[in-house]
Symmetry: C2
Subunit: 439 residues, 2 copies
């Protein structure tokens, strides 16, 4: 049994947080590979170390005053080292960093030092081996992550290392230049490590007790999703329910390794388990609700539309010409609706309408703006009759007018279009009927 | 006030039926232009005159024995003439017909004689002027109906004719050859006449008291639709609720002339009024339910599908290549379902799947056959919240699993996919909730 445990910035923001992390790791001997982020905010007014590093580098590399901020970064680490009673001195590391900053070695290098230093502190605290990610995670000369090479090197390196700390967020190009993943990329590092060691579980420790069924800004204290499949997660995260870095999913998914989202501040909570597939029945019929505002509907009418082979293709081609991707395309017999992002569409609005007229000679083209799309997602929906009935009854009861419905045969989700103004009301109504009423 | 009245074959199958028609026409002086079909069946074992004419012509034109069947055709008309006590002799017309049949003048000519002779009888019975449609309805040399020329000639001819009988179903090419519309084409003639005289109403008299909310083979004694818009009718008729010839709609629709479907055997029934648009609130929330079996769903899955501009277009292009028109295309985030007619799709099934793989490299393509589509149509749905909720609650209650949902912003219809086996149950359930429960 081997687990990879990744800790986010808020889990490592202070000595106090480090101690929680230490307790978590020591509580389970299989937590053998640790991927730390850089220290995050200790409170809402605090600064993240990564941001401080960027500021410091900006100044140092352009000949500006950087000593003060560098000192504050040092203090952040010193506070952790002192608080943990460690016998560790980072002076040498900071000297190297300062020299490199003044040389202008690169922003990615600067950004990565937060994880690098935190990795050294963590390894010292746990008594684990420290492995610099620059030695095991590789990017090609264009900055693209080299997944297969990394996997091979990392597997070999970790094969005989019982316990190790591998800092998140960065790796290196073949010339030694440091390169980072995009922001939040420590999630990706954890996933890459989990794949390389064939982990049984990838634990991703954050400051939330897992994914929530609905947005807490809309629904008060929403329930936590116990188990979610990758597919469900993708459907929800597309609609704006983001917690996990998207690229973090692929390395573990291909190996069938589950991800467990946990809360460092509430280690007793089970969090959310993300799996490839599961027989486990979900607690509620739906797994989650997510949505986005700012869509526009283009309604096309033409008598006998259905008899025209190629009608739909020609319409989509017009949108494609202007680089506009359509979200949904529900159709009646003589009517067709194309849902697009208003922001993408606005600039080309008139060109698209003219293009549709040229392409298919419709009887009419009408626009409706300020619409929102809501995705109700759940693998349990296929097995439960009446899900759609419950959703639309709840919406009717909440006086929400349904502008669009789209449900394909996968039966994994129902997409509902409503007015922007009804967005929050609709999500609350759906949440209440499935989670609070629990029917 | 001017009305065009068209009578179908069963309304004119016997002297008894003719008398009903006579009473109807005489009851309203504005019923000035009459379009008769050929005599239809008097009972379920009877033959239609048009079919007898085809048989007779087949024999006569190929040197076979035709006298007996020609005699039976004569008897059909003689029964009507005698039953109406008319002073009318069709010997001359039948001599001409016999000569032309033996000459092999054409199947369309043969078929058209049923209406032609019935027109003469009708004109004599009513004391209206008889106008041979060959003189006023025109086709070009390729057999395409010449709408503008016909409208001009017919308008001029009828301008000074107070009351006339114009037989349905046929016209002529410029060389005088008789050409018919497709079967059921008397509906079209009535519509053309209504347009030419700027009728206030086009009454289409049949043997049913209007369009029904649902198929009477599925729902027992369904309610009659009082008022339906052309758009609603088109949505329903496409799905198989056919009563009126489709081409019959266009001539009157462009002039805003309503069509009234009436029952010759129950003239007291108001029938169904077909209109361009109406402020009149429908009696029920939904106007009608129709559907068809025999669809197939092609489910395409691909991670990040939504991010690919052109994905939908490329998929549709594959279907287009094989001449397959898609009916609906509901989509999730990473999933897309294409609904097609199983009969159109089967032959090219494997080629289409291969084509999709080549075009968009999906993660998976799955087929689900034996599905039915149901269209719930109604202009009242937009104004009534909760329509969708009622539909899907009713289906859940009836234990019907919903495989697909499609509703665009026109809100004129909701399309529902179910298994073929659930088709009748689903239609009954929807009918019951809206019409019987009347909620």
């Amino acid at each position: 049994m081997k687990k990879v445990v990744k800790f986010g910035g808020s889990s490592l923001a202070s000595a106090r947080q480090f101690k929680k992390v230490g307790d978590i790791i020591r509580a389970d001997k299989t937590r053998r590979y640790v991927v730390p982020s850089a220290p995050g905010k200790r409170n809402s007014k605090d600064e993240k170390v990564t941001d401080m590093l960027y500021t410091c580098y900006e100044a140092a590399s352009t000949g500006g005053a950087y000593k003060k901020i560098l000192e504050r970064i040092k203090e952040r680490y010193q506070e952790i080292i002192d608080g943990l009673d460690l016998n560790l001195n980072l002076d040498h590391e900071f000297d190297t960093i300062e020299q490199n900053f003044v040389k202008g070695i690169g922003r990615d290098y600067a950004a990565s030092r937060g994880e690098y230093l935190n990795g050294i502190v963590m390894a010292n605290y746990l008594g684990y081996e420290f492995i610099d990610s620059a030695e095991v995670i590789f990017f090609d000369e264009n900055g693209n992550f080299e997944s297969e090479l990394t996997n091979k090197e990392l597997s070999e390196r970790l094969e005989h290392v019982e316990r190790a700390v591998i800092p998140g967020f960065y790796g290196s190009k073949h010339d030694g230049t440091i390169k980072t993943f995009s922001r939040g990329g420590s999630d990706v590092t954890g996933s890459i490590v989990a794949r390389a060691i064939h982990a049984d579980l990838y634990e991703n420790w954050t400051d939330v007790s897992g994914f929530l069924v609905a947005d807490p800004r809309i629904v008060e204290d929403p329930a936590v999703i116990e188990t979610i499949t990758y597919k469900e997660l993708r459907e929800l995260s597309y609609m704006g329910a983001g917690v996990l870095h998207e690229d973090a999913i692929f390395p573990v998914r291909r190996e069938g390794i589950p991800i467990n989202i946990r809360n460092t501040n509430k280690p007793e909570d089970k969090g959310t388990l993300i799996v490839e597939s599961t027989c486990r029945k979900p607690h509620y019929t739906i797994t989650g609700i997510a949505g986005k505002k700012g869509f526009c509907a283009i309604n096309i009418e033409k008598a006998m539309m259905n008899a025209e082979v190629g009608f739909g293709r020609k319409v989509l081609q017009v949108f494609e010409k202007y680089g506009i991707s359509f979200e949904h395309m529900p159709s009646g017999i003589d009517t067709m609706t194309i849902m697009v992002h208003q922001s993408e569409f606005e600039e080309y609005e008139q060109s698209v309408i003219a293009g549709i007229h040229r392409a298919v000679e419709p009887d009419s083209v009408e626009l409706e703006a300020d619409l929102a799309l809501i995705a109700v997602v759940g693998r349990g929906m296929k097995a439960t009759r009446g899900t759609a009935g419950r959703i639309f009854s709840a919406l009717a009861h909440a006086r929400v007018n349904v502008k669009m419905i789209d449900q394909g045969s996968s039966e994994l989700n129902i997409i509902i279009g409503v007015k922007n103004a009804d967005f929050e009301t609709a999500i609350k109504a759906i949440y209440d009927i499935f989670i609070l009423a629990e029917i």
